[in-house]
């Protein structure tokens, strides 16, 4: 069964450092999402891509976060510089289209010290 792949699974970094997360969606899925989930809360959308284009990044802290999906397949989410409050689970999801069921990857657990 096709799955969304994410790496790394865990990342520990010091504040002010740069971190990057990678996501490979299910083959053929045009829509890709990055979510942040803080412990005890539900996932919150950071950015949504349709193919290589950003369609929603209204909740992305653009002063420190960036995301790209250059060839419309895999994607990278970057944080620079990381802050203590960025400690969370970062989830990637993909879907055939923007209104289709979203399938999530296993996530990257980030701890900022």
């Amino acid at each position: 069964e096709a799955e969304v792949a994410q790496s790394p699974r865990y990342k520990i970094t010091e504040k002010s450092q740069a971190v990057a997360f990678w996501c490979d969606p299910i083959s053929g899925h045009a829509t890709l999402y990055w979510y942040r989930q803080i412990l005890g809360q539900g996932p919150e959308l950071l950015v949504q891509f349709q193919d290589e284009s950003v369609v929603d990044d209204s909740q992305l802290p653009k002063d420190r976060f960036s995301a790209e999906r250059l060839k419309g397949v895999d994607s990278t989410l970057k944080i620079q510089p990381a802050e203590l409050g960025d400690s969370a689970m970062y989830l990637c999801a993909s879907s055939l289209g923007p209104q289709e069921t979203q399938y999530f990857g296993p996530g990257t657990r980030l701890l900022v010290l």
Partner: protein, 111 residues
């Protein structure tokens, strides 16, 4: 502004009994609702959904009920099994909008 709320952080039931997980929403524009299940160290997995034109959708042991007038939905699991122990998230959207998730409810099914 929490538009989707799951007021029970946890629920414990006996194996074989019914589990009822609840979710309330405030945005009357929501017209599609979903439930996801999440095991530790895994991403959320889609479970079941319902459109606002329906008030019930059933898939095996899982049934979702929607009460639009009360802006309330619930997920029923019957019979509950130990493998159902997980965090359950409800989520909602309207056409063209992002998914908005609730805070999640930890379900524990005791053997």
């Amino acid at each position: 502004d929490q538009q989707v709320k799951q007021n029970s952080p946890s629920l414990s039931v006996q194996e074989g009994r019914i589990s009822i997980l609840n979710c309330d929403y405030t945005n009357s524009m929501f017209d599609y609702f979903l439930w996801y299940k999440k095991y530790p160290a895994e991403g959320p997995t889609f479970l079941i959904s319902i459109s606002s034109i329906k008030d019930k959708n059933e898939d095996g042991r899982f049934t979702v009920f929607l009460n639009k007038s009360a802006k309330h939905l619930s997920l029923h699991i019957v019979p509950s099994q130990p493998g159902d122990s997980a965090v359950y998230f409800c989520a909602a959207r309207w056409s063209g909008s992002r998914l908005t998730f609730g805070e999640g409810t930890q379900l524990t099914v005791n053997p």
